[in-house]
């Protein structure tokens, strides 16, 4: 990207100011974790279940919106047009699916079972089955870990392009900020930072939209109409549009609740008034981001002819540099960084919880001392963050495969575990294990074309449907979950 030294310097200064402000904010708010009810683990992973409206809204919204919102998604739309534009808009349902669909139910049973993490909660539902715990834990480490690496990689690329600095410097800054926020304030620290990051994201999207629209010399609608003359096919759905749009209506909308770093929000909010208000605010904020960034796709398509961009996913950063003064481009870099850090922060806390609480404490050492858990937790945050940094710095070939399967993998593992566990009394641990194992196998087999049953949908869709069916059948053929557990999950607490 063609940038003068002066422009790059200004971008770096704005980015440095944003980074310093975020660091200062983390240090100032470090005492937040000490407030709230419960022991160390409860405060670290659920913030003492005292999350407010803005924090709850941002945990879902900023947690879902990673680098993909600024890069991958506009890149797909730039390349493929109308079909992908519609697909992108399905993310608007993320708050509804996490807070509206299962927020209250999870809130009640998490308090009844005193669960601190997503997996701990569902281990309880499935008769404290260690097999369910290990399968969910290991799947989370692999798939969510892969997702975290892809998220930080996207941010690192934008950092390199806009500042001209080494890609790994960007990765190191993102990693350090996430570690500081997590270690000083636990989930509350990460969530508090998300509020700042969400605000910066919103400002940068709005600025970019206004300046992008003004850059063409035409009105917004004239730009669209001109584009319709030159690229009429871009506005038409592609041959497989029905299956593609249905696939992503499910994957980017409904199954948001299968992402552990987003769904953990349901463990942290204070009360249902907070939840309802957060749902309204979160949905409005995501709508602004999606309308702004998708709306800019008309501008990028108009401004950059085919073949003029290094890669399609650089459409938005390239537009930022082309149409914005350097200070504003620096703000866009800060916005992208905010998107990356907020998603990664949630993922790191979720991954550390999987290692320490789900795998170590709940499966291998139930009587672990609180001091041991605290030390392990600090170590897990550091190790998880550093491993993500190292993998992103020098990605092994296998990782590219893992990233491809990351979100789909989480969907096939958690879709039936969560939905059947929460809403169907007859679901049991045998069905859960059968569903998880068959789901992962089916996903790979369908994706590789060995089982030709995708019917044009994303491979994950058929794998999820079939594995859920298998979970239902196996549950019906095996004994019910013990009475005490079902009464805790569905009945009155005091009978």
């Amino acid at each position: 990207m063609d940038l003068s030294t002066k422009q790059r310097t200004i971008i770096i200064v704005v980015f440095a100011l944003y980074t310093a402000a975020l660091l200062l904010y983390s240090i100032v708010t470090r005492k937040a974790m000490q407030k709230g009810k419960g022991d160390y683990l409860s405060k670290f992973y659920t913030g003492g279940r005292s999350g407010g409206i803005i924090i709850t809204a941002m945990m879902v919204s900023a947690g879902v919106a990673g680098a993909g919102v600024f890069m991958g998604v506009p890149g797909f739309t730039y390349t493929y047009g109308a079909t992908w534009m519609v697909c992108c808009f399905f993310s608007i349902g993320s708050n509804l699916m996490v807070l509206g669909l299962l927020g209250k139910r999870v809130g009640i049973v998490a308090r009844r079972t005193n669960s601190q993490t997503f997996i701990e909660l569902f281990m309880n539902r499935y008769n404290n089955s260690k097999v369910v715990g290990i399968l969910c834990g290991v799947s989370t480490l692999f798939f969510l870990g892969g997702f975290a690496v892809s998220t930080i990689t996207g941010g690192g690329r934008i950092f390199q392009i806009l500042t001209g600095q080494d890609y790994r410097i960007g990765l190191a800054i993102f990693t350090a900020l996430v570690i500081i926020a997590a270690l000083t304030g636990g989930i509350k620290g990460v969530a508090s930072a998300m509020v700042i990051q969400g605000i910066v994201m919103t400002i940068s999207v709005l600025l970019l939209f206004i300046m992008g629209v003004n850059s063409t010399g035409l009105s917004y609608t004239q730009t669209i109409q001109s584009l319709m003359q030159t690229n009429p096919d871009w506005f038409k759905p592609d041959a497989n549009a029905l299956q593609t749009t249905i696939s992503y209506a499910i994957l980017w909308g409904i199954t948001t609740f299968t992402l552990p770093h987003v769904t953990m929000t349901a463990l942290t909010y204070k009360d249902t008034k907070t939840l309802h208000r957060a749902l309204k605010i979160g949905t409005a904020v995501v709508a602004i981001w999606l309308l702004g960034l998708n709306g800019l796709c008309f501008i990028t398509k108009y401004s950059f002819a085919e073949g003029t961009l290094a890669t399609a996913d650089l459409a938005i950063p390239t537009l930022a540099v082309k149409v914005m003064p350097a200070w504003a481009a620096g703000l866009v870099l800060a916005g992208v960084s905010g998107a990356v850090q907020s998603s990664m922060g949630g993922m790191v806390v979720s991954l550390a919880g999987t290692v320490v609480s789900d795998l170590y404490k709940n499966i291998f050492d139930k009587d672990a001392k609180p001091e041991t858990i605290k030390k392990l937790n600090v170590a897990a945050i550091l190790v998880v963050s550093i491993v993500i940094f190292l993998l992103a710095s020098n990605p092994p070939q296998l990782l590219a495969q893992l990233i491809t399967y990351a979100t789909g993998g989480l969907t096939v593992v958690f879709f039936h575990v969560v939905l059947l566990g929460l809403f169907w009394k007859r679901a049991n641990e045998y069905g859960a294990v059968a569903g998880i194992v068959s789901g992962i196998l089916l996903y790979f087999l369908i994706d590789k074309g060995i089982l030709a049953i995708s019917f044009g949908f994303n491979a994950c869709i058929m794998a999820t449907l079939l594995s859920t069916l298998i979970a239902v059948i196996v549950s019906l053929l095996t004994p019910k979950t013990p009475y005490g557990i079902i009464r805790t999950w569905f009945g009155r607490a005091t009978e």
């Binding site: 309308l291 009475y483 005490g484 079902i486 009155r492």
Partner: protein, 109 residues
């Protein structure tokens, strides 16, 4: 024997019982109702978005300078935000989320 009395004699670890012996917490019943309402609303939104793309993207009509289908997509998205606000304000019910809390009836709000 009353239903409550009957549930007390079942062993907590028993796997051989009738699911009907468990009297649902009213909050659980309400959240199940909200689950179905939420699902139906989202599916309607997704269906409108997809139908609009597939059926109207070939039209050359414009509204306020936008191609008709893009104008409608924007309207559907704004409609979705309004729908979420209506759901969260008027349909979803407040409740305690403590282990043995209560459902708050509308008149309690």
């Amino acid at each position: 024997m009353s239903k409550t009395a009957k549930t007390q004699v079942i062993d907590e670890n028993s796997r051989d019982y009738d699911l009907k012996d468990i009297e649902n917490d009213p909050r659980i019943t309400q959240t199940t109702k909200e689950f179905w309402i939420t699902m139906v609303c989202y599916i309607c939104f997704a269906a409108l978005m997809i139908a609009n793309l597939l059926l109207l993207s070939g039209s050359s009509a414009t509204v306020l300078g936008f191609p008709l289908w893009i104008f409608l997509e924007i309207l559907i998205i704004i409609g979705f935000v309004v729908m979420v606000i209506i759901l969260a304000t008027f349909v979803y019910q407040d409740m305690d989320i403590t282990p043995d809390g209560k459902l708050h009836k509308k008149q309690d709000r």
